[in-house]
């Protein structure tokens, strides 16, 4: 009996998996999530902190911009949870990108609040929440990476004995 073989060699299989592993795709997913979230928070803050009543069309534009940003955030989140694998080292980098984006958004929110002379406390509270979440994610990502590196050392040591 002739033994069957898969049509794809190991290298061909890896080549086919390559698009899912591309750095560009991972960066794009993280960027879409962060930019979407930061944009949604910033536009919403501008909208709600407007001192004078806004005309209907302006309200509509703000609403559309917020929805657009949330759609990008949703797309980025979907990519990261369902399509693009983020390995331990990627998660550390993504968490720091998140922290930087949160800090930048908080600064922008605070600047707008100071310029308008109102809403500094809510702006700092929302920004602070984002920074705190990003910090927790960064700490968790570092801990996971450290745990994996420790396991690699243990297993390598065991194999060398």
């Amino acid at each position: 009996m002739i033994e069957e073989e898969p049509r794809l060699s190991a290298q061909e299989m890896i080549d086919r998996l390559e698009p899912s592993l591309s750095l560009k795709r991972r960066v794009r997913a993280v960027a879409a999530l962060l930019a979407g979230l930061a944009g949604a928070v910033f536009v919403s803050a501008l909208w709600w902190s407007e001192p004078d009543p806004l005309p209907g069309r302006t309200q509509l534009v703000f609403a559309l911009l917020t929805v657009c940003c949330l759609a990008w955030a949703g797309y980025g989140g979907w990519l990261l949870t369902r399509r693009v694998p983020l390995f331990a080292t990627d998660r550390v980098i993504a968490a720091w990108m998140g922290l930087a984006a949160s800090a930048a958004t908080t600064t922008a929110l605070a600047a707008v609040a100071v310029q308008r002379g109102t809403g500094l406390v809510p702006a700092l509270a929302v920004g602070g929440l984002f920074v705190a979440v990003a910090l927790v994610l960064a700490v968790r990502a570092h801990a996971r990476r450290r745990a994996l590196l420790r396991r690699v050392r243990e297993l390598t040591g065991r194999e060398e004995k």
């Binding site: 009996m1 033994e3 069957e4 898969p6 049509r7 794809l8 190991a10 299989m13 890896i14 086919r16 998996l17 899912s20 592993l21 369902r82 399509r83 693009v84 694998p85 983020l86 390995f87 331990a88 080292t89 990627d90 998660r91 990476r145 994996l148 590196l149 396991r151 690699v152 297993l155 390598t156 194999e159």
Partner: protein, 173 residues
Amino acid sequence: MTDELLVVRAQLGERAALAELVARWRMPVWTYVRRMLDAERADDVSQEVWLAVLRGLPRLREPDRFAPWLFTIARRSVTDRLRGQYAFRQEDLVGDVVVEDPVESLVDRAELVSLLSELPVLEREVLVLFYLEDLPVEDCARICRIPAGTVKSRLNRARRLLREHLEKKGYRP
């Protein structure tokens, strides 16, 4: 290098470890898929399995249990393809007693492979996992999401069916 070390290195993001993992497990995955499906679909489904493995690997919490996890994913892909083609029986087969069977010593690997396609899906599945992939009964149970006793009874039934097929073809123990 053990599978666990390869998996942990791959989880850290090492491409070489990931490539080694694919190279090491490509044939066992393909063999399982091929024994469950026809040749046309085996390559596509294998690729689908590896994509799912890639996406799930960062979240794998027990790297030392890579093989059962891998075959659980492979089984899910195969089941998706088989759904519609067969009505996948979910009820457990109970009551069979596991005994040493002369068919084990009679059937060599090549003969087993050629006869597999004639077996019902559920029996074929445990036979492939247990005999061709050399997985222990506990791992087969985990992959198929059935009790270990059900795996044993399916194996028993599969061996009986296999023996009947062999006898029809003129083999005598």
